[in-house]
Symmetry: C2
Subunit: 144 residues, 2 copies
């Protein structure tokens, strides 16, 4: 298994504002004004599928994904959380953690579906990268 | 937390052909001719989000999801695996495990996106429910 692919954008670029990282992966914030709190967890090595990781690595990665889910629920109070690992375009293991609201652009479709409406008028929480990063660190660095 | 909701279709119906089940969840096959091998893992109790489970339950569920991924890769040799937990329509915890091919109807979009082409002409493996169920049992009942 190659650990880096020079043609892979997730090997060569951060892929977003880095909120937290360790030796195995990084959490980045996705700059999407329709989905504040949208984060990705990106595995550091150039690995294709979850089943290419060993069991310890799988559980390590999912603990981080679920920690992001908990923090995003706490800070953004969405109606639902969506989790996905696709990698069809960039086959480098990464997870999407997406807060959803009933009046968001695509609800109840996934955010990759067709736009159903303009974003709802309801206020979404405004949370800075610093606040989000601090909340993630407080969960992840406490040794979950 | 209610364990059953009478208005929830995943509490009241199987949601597909049951291939394997234990006290915590069931694996069903999704009858989609474009995506042979498409399976769902459905948590038994009416729980909304992964972060509503305790850590043991989270890891128990993900071990099953990754076992399905391994079996689907082995039997269907897809170009990619897609994993997702949405629940926007049915907010009862369930995971989609979807084998993808470069010439499938939506590639590289998620299967919830717009149809890009008719399915490719390449043969997809034909695997019966019985063979799939046996393969899942051989992994899951061996005590992963």
């Amino acid at each position: 298994m190659n650990t880096v692919s020079l043609s892979c954008e997730l090997c060569t670029q951060a892929g977003g504002e880095i909120l937290w990282q360790d030796e195995s992966c990084r959490i980045v914030r996705v700059a999407d004004p329709h989905y504040p709190g949208f984060c990705r967890v990106i595995w550091r090595e150039h690995v294709r599928e979850m089943s290419d990781l060993d069991e310890f690595q799988q559980l390590q990665l999912m603990r981080i994904v679920f920690a992001v889910e908990s923090v995003v629920r706490e800070l953004f109070s969405p109606d639902k959380i969506n989790l996905a690992s696709f990698g069809n375009v960039v086959p480098h293991l990464h997870w999407h953690i997406i807060p959803r609201w009933r009046d968001d652009r695509h609800f109840p479709e996934p955010v990759w579906g067709s736009v159903r409406r303009e974003s709802g008028q309801a206020e979404r929480p405004s949370v800075s990268n610093e606040v989000l990063a601090t909340a993630l660190a407080s969960v992840l660095d406490s040794g979950i």
